[in-house]
Amino acid sequence: MNARIRAVFEDAGVRGWLHAVALDSPESTVEADADGVVPMASVYKLPLLVGFCRLVDLGEIDPRAALTLDPSARTAGPTGLSTFADPVTLSLRDLAVSMMTVSDNAAADALLDLVGLRRLRELLESFGLRRTWVRRGTGANLRDLQRRTGLDDPDAALAVLADNDQTDPTGVYEAANGSASSPRDMTLLLRRLWAGELLSTEQTEFVKATMHRQLF
């Protein structure tokens, strides 16, 4: 199995790290370098969602509280609130839905601000995640990329990453520089979440329902 997985990665021209586990029999796993710590990109939205829901359970956050996001302060992105022209007011739980269902960068950064990096770190530790670090959101990632490319325009900075004729700026894909996790840590999070070990029944159901509605 392992050789077959590696062959698929090789054929696709990628380096891959994988961990899959059956929810009803945790000893059945498929893995390839499952403990490698790699940059998380948009996957950071998952631990953020679980952290947010834990704060709802703890009574620290009211999921129905309204938040207004102004276009000038919103993180850019191809989907969701990131694409809107005008100020948007919505509840925090709807913000979470937009973050997960369409990988909305603006919604995710707003939630991350609300939860706070330090609080989220404590929560992830309490979930038993030892190799997961949410160090910043998408907006901060983009600013880091702009700094590394020396380009003020976010689109121009992203274009550097997509350019086949240039090397990627040093460090943009370094796990130590941004939010990072290991495949095994992410399946642990999902497994504990699905088992109802991390959140109340109500919040567990909210997370599951939201994830079922993911468009991609």
Binding site: T167, A176, N177
Partner: protein
């Protein structure tokens, strides 16, 4: 005891102003870097950096001591170089070349290796990109010129060198007038390509670009350019090559408008296995050698590394 590693950490942190980047520059992970810095600060009895939110800045003491650290590290490097120069055998440089590297460009890189590291013995092998990357990782090769993009998995790599290509086209399809051609005009003629497994990512980029410019015509897999050229001579295929010397009767040589299918090459090496190479300077010299060996260098599009 103050070590070379302490000096490298001090200088890398001063230059990168970032723990992750500095660790990468030194070739270690972040925890030993932080530990090394604390040890160095204890040894010199002064705080060298202010650690802020994601940023690292030199303190006044750090700024005052930095020039001494630079001088000390330079001296140590000179000691290494002198030791290598005195070795009667000289260091061995095992160079790998992907088959897409034109013979003249490969020769120029090998010659530049010899010139960059005086007294070195250079040996050369040719192999597909995927094989070369594995051999450099395993330490069987010192460095290699491979197709870009490729999965490098922890290897160091120089800037991307773009070599312009020609289309070698049967004269039965297009007169041998040396005219620049649009790829679209060459519809219906399969392009000879090497097996995909040799460099999957670069091959897919080639095919995607080809499909953008020329939706039909397809490809035919050949073992090497010799076979491709023979198929072109037989009127069965065209060859896209960066090699200025490949030629046969019945096959015309044409530039393609906007050079849509350049050969992208990078030099790769292993930081941990080639301490004798001082990569930063040597590698940019060698990359230059790849590009400037070819005629019409004004047409290449080598871009500087963005960092």
């Amino acid at each position: 005891m103050l070590t070379e590693r302490h000096l490298q950490i001090f200088i890398a942190l001063a230059e990168e102003q970032h723990f992750g980047d500095a660790a990468r520059a030194v070739g270690i992970t972040q925890p030993p870097l932080s530990q090394g810095l604390r040890r160095l600060e204890a040894l010199v009895g002064a705080k060298l950096f202010e650690r802020g939110q994601g940023r690292v800045e030199l303190t006044a003491a750090g700024a005052a001591l930095l020039p001494y650290a630079r001088r000390a590290l330079t001296s140590i490097e000179e000691l290494h170089q002198a030791a290598i120069a005195r070795d009667p055998e000289g260091p061995e440089i095992r160079l790998g070349l992907a088959p897409e590297v034109p013979p003249s460009a490969g020769a120029a890189v090998a010659a530049a290796c010899g010139a960059a590291i005086p007294g070195s013995r250079v040996t050369v092998v040719s192999a597909p990109t995927s094989s070369l990357v594995g051999q450099v990782s395993a330490g069987r090769l010192t460095l290699a010129a491979v197709l870009h993009p490729a999965v490098l998995d922890g290897l160091e790599a120089g800037p991307v060198a773009l070599l312009p290509t020609w289309a070698l086209v049967p004269t039965s399809a297009v007169p041998d007038d040396g005219e620049e051609l649009k790829l679209r005009r060459l519809r219906g003629l399969p392009v000879a390509v090497r097996p995909r497994a040799e460099a999957p990512a670069a091959r897919d980029l080639f095919l995607d670009t080809l499909a953008l410019h020329r939706p039909d015509g397809g490809t035919v897999v050949v073992t090497d350019e010799r076979a491709g050229l023979a198929m072109a001579a037989a009127g069965q295929a065209m060859v896209v090559t960066a090699d200025p010397s490949l030629a046969a009767p019945g096959v015309g040589r044409h530039r393609l408008v906007d050079d849509p299918l350049p050969v992208r090459l990078r030099l790769v090496w292993s930081r941990t296995r080639t301490p004798c190479l001082r990569p930063a300077e040597v590698m940019s010299q060698l990359t230059d050698a790849l590009v400037t060996s070819l005629p019409e260098t004004g047409r290449t599009r080598a871009k500087p590394v963005t960092s």
